[in-house]
Symmetry: C2
Subunit: 320 residues, 2 copies
DNA sequence: TTGAAAGCGCTACCAT
DNA sequence: ATGGTAGCGCTTTCAA
């Protein structure tokens, strides 16, 4: 229609500098009129790029999706991808079989790069990706050392700020309900708690899994063991909500008798009674930043930059 | 490696019946040993299929992601896709420009089929897809008639059940906070309310947008207009939570003075004080079923089956 | 600055 | 039941 060769059309589409302005205009007009859209598969076949990135959630628990954290990440990622021609492929593996397929899929160049979310310490995927040279960025600091970039919220600092807030209110027996210790978010938030409390008491630490039920269980155990506690820092809002419930069941007043702080500033933090004092993470920025890094890696093929920690912020509400 | 031609390998991979068992075994062994995975782009180029479906969220509000409803859908969809070779592509369009790109993307065969979520009445996309013959299934009944299949929860029945529950408790001035009236979930839940209340009073109806803030606003307006109301049915848990807050601010006791029922049975329903009586939707099944339908349409190219309504269930907690 | 043509890896048709 | 091979739509040399 434009009276030029396929090669020229291709150059126009790919913004090649060596096309005369006149020809470019003609071709663009033809493209517009025909509503022509390049065939992705054909292009992909020759360029060996797929123009898509995978958001990989390799997590046995179905929990992740309901998690506001994940929702924020998706929003950030998709926002950063919006004015790109990149597509977002959601790759989810819950069973062992699916994880195997996932690995093959990702390692075989079906996506140009990978964003890894909700990593557990024993997951072999990051190392595999790094070894295979697949561009990949982690959402959250890896527990074990991996030659991949990552972006994380300042979990440790946020936890410390939370505990200091409790100390500042005169609380002296401050317990904590941790996240899973095979995830950096779990480890770091516990480390932050320890930072603020020199010589912490092991009896004041109970391990949870971020879920509300685990919060109930942990709080119950803590009250049993340490009836004199006057505050608790939970490593997730969900666990804090569970703790609230257990405290109510035990007849303890919040925040008078026991102060409670959560983590995430998720939507439930404002619904509990009293509303949760909590630590906000910049989830959107996190999603944006991991995407930016991944796109850069894909573009330049460059070595991974060092990890980046984004600041967290204490949000004070009624529970502490 | 197997000592056969590419054609035979292709037949093995595509489960062609005309391959001798012996050869098939040899080829499969070679495939396993080489870790060979077919190139998706090349295959796509010749088959004109992409082996991926799009989950299209064409919604100006960022709200959707935080919505537990959406999370459940994603889980259902990805579950139904798990033992398939289909990939899930998340297509999100928030701005007008993105919506335009989305339309082109989808209409140009970049996915084999489309799942549409969170549809507003004025969205031209469903009709466009139907006209273009792109397999598509709607999550939720369309407001305007569209020649596409859909699967929805029984919003109307659920709302009726909720209001009947209130009537059964002796409530007589039952107000409602509706969802947006350009979405079927908003319309149907209002219709269900009307079904249970012969000759409803327009003063008892206030329109919201599913968000918590709109719940606060609507409840405040209702109290202002109808101080004598003794119950309110909100078309979402978020709005119910907002209503709870407004009621507390107004000094009304829940459920004694005013009973409250929400919709969705989302995670916040158990966190509010009192916990929300609400209507549960089978989100997971919804996701599964739309996916099943889409896969069938893609497979057979068949005409759309009639819409399907999945039952909802009243979950009684403290607020009513 | 433009065009001709080779091939990307696969499937599907036609032979055998 | 198997192999040979054309060709899917595009990008990218290489020539002109």
């Amino acid at each position: 229609m434009a009276g030029v060769s396929r090669a020229t059309v291709s150059r126009v589409i790919n913004d090649s500098p060596k096309v005369s302005p006149a020809v470019r205009a003609t071709v663009e007009a033809a493209i517009a009129q025909l509503g022509y859209v390049p065939n992705r598969a054909a292009r992909s076949l020759v360029t060996r790029r797929t123009d898509s990135i995978g958001l990989v959630v390799s997590e046995p628990e179905a929990l992740v999706f309901s998690d506001p954290f994940f929702a924020g990440i998706v929003r950030g990622v998709s926002g950063a991808l919006a004015d790109t021609s990149m597509q977002l492929v959601l790759v989810i593996a819950q069973t062992a079989g699916q994880r195997k397929k996932l690995e093959q899929y990702v390692l075989n160049g079906h996506v140009d790069g990978v964003l890894l979310v909700s990593l557990h310490g024993d997951d072999p995927l990051p190392a595999g990706l790094a070894a295979a040279g697949v561009p990949a960025v982690l959402v959250g600091r890896p527990v074990r050392d991996v030659p991949l970039t990552w972006v994380d919220a300042d979990n440790r600092g946020g936890a410390t700020a939370a505990v200091r807030h409790l100390l500042g209110q005169g609380r002296r027996r401050i317990a904590t309900i941790t996240g899973p210790q095979d995830m950096s978010a779990g480890v770091d938030r516990l480390d932050g708690y320890r930072d603020a409390l020199p010589g912490p008491d092991a009896a004041l630490i109970e391990i949870g899994d971020f879920s509300e039920e685990s919060g109930v269980r942990a709080m119950t155990a803590l009250l049993d063991r340490e009836p004199g506690l006057d505050a608790v820092f939970a490593a997730s809002d969900l666990m804090a909500a569970g703790a609230l419930r257990a405290l109510r069941a035990a007849g303890r007043g919040v925040p008078d008798e026991v102060a409670v702080i959560g983590f995430d500033d998720s939507i439930i933090a404002r619904q509990t009674d009293p509303a949760l004092t909590t630590v906000r993470q910049p989830v959107n920025e996190l999603g944006r930043e991991v995407t930016r890094r991944l796109l850069e890696m894909i573009g330049t093929g460059d070595a991974p930059a060092p990890g980046l920690v984004l600041p967290t912020e204490l949000v004070v509400r009624g529970s502490a």
